[in-house]
Symmetry: C2
Subunit: 215 residues, 2 copies
Amino acid sequence: MNPADQGPEGTRPPPTRRRPGGRTARIRQQVLDAVVAELGEHGYDGLTTDAVAARAGVHRTTVYRRWGDVGGLLADVLDAASDDDWQPPDTGSLERDLAALNQEIYAALTAQPPIMAALIAASFRSEKAAQAQQRLWEDRYARCEIIVSRAVQHGELPPHTDARQLLIAATAPLYHQLVLLRTAPDPRLPGHAARTAALAAAAGSFAKSPSAGHA
Amino acid sequence: MNPADQGPEGTRPPPTRRRPGGRTARIRQQVLDAVVAELGEHGYDGLTTDAVAARAGVHRTTVYRRWGDVGGLLADVLDAASDDDWQPPDTGSLERDLAALNQEIYAALTAQPPIMAALIAASFRSEKAAQAQQRLWEDRYARCEIIVSRAVQHGELPPHTDARQLLIAATAPLYHQLVLLRTAPDPRLPGHAARTAALAAAAGSFAKSPSAGHA
């Protein structure tokens, strides 16, 4: 889920991980790499289209014409992060799948430099970045629904389980503590939040039925 | 939990809700009311010490000397919000207490003008506001621990239950969906998140023991 590592739209990274595509794709990749590097070093406040252009070795008018402003650059970093073949972990059990997923989120949220934290912070500054961040999360949650359907197939969960609500319950405590409450990172957090959601799911908390789920 | 309604430090609002205290307390209240009003109307980007001073009817140097900058003003709004006698709901059951608490959070996060959302957004802009936001949340979570100790006394939960983890599991989905994912408000959210946490708690998810809780 590291936005710095993604290939451009509609392509798949070849085994050697050499940047694919033509000149346009290459320039996009150079620019997005530069955005991530600048963001990691200086945060949102130090991010400028000029510094990105200089770092990427492209002309500033190229950046300006294609991305417009800092918000457009950040939005494209986030959109590029969805252009991958990421799949959620498949460990054979609901709780372990959720724990492995949370481990990835935890690693991204506590990474240095704090790229993911800086992108989330930027989404409070730029509407374009906010919308792209939202698209990326929706894409990730949609891909993760297979964790829940596998658990249903294995008989771990009842057939009508609300996958999205379960996934949000499993992951929300990480975002809440690390992004909003800013509590010190605790390596037990990913496993604990996974276990809580799995126990609640087993107890029927995410069962969908005509009457269930209404307050 | 509305920061606009709080009395100044160390005082309690008299029954008539007239602003208590002397001139200093009165000025503080006028200024903090003005910050909240300006924030509601213009958001963080439109917030200036000059506009706050004008709205509060005090001299701009008064604001500058006492609060320094916009970050200092926001931090004081958040600190003032802790100076109240707020207590968490007491309904007789864990799940209903959590649902009532979530109802308050949901109302604050979906209120118009979006003061709480603007304060959270501001905490990504100003380190002073971020620290004050953190203090306010820690204060609220600490006050809410009584919900869990009452449930332990009633025999609803095992004696060694991690109150903070339970409270975070109960409330995190609201913040995650309304603040970060920006999903459309759903009035079932408060009750559902409360039920999930209560079911997980009954299943032993927040039990503290020498071995429990380690990943």
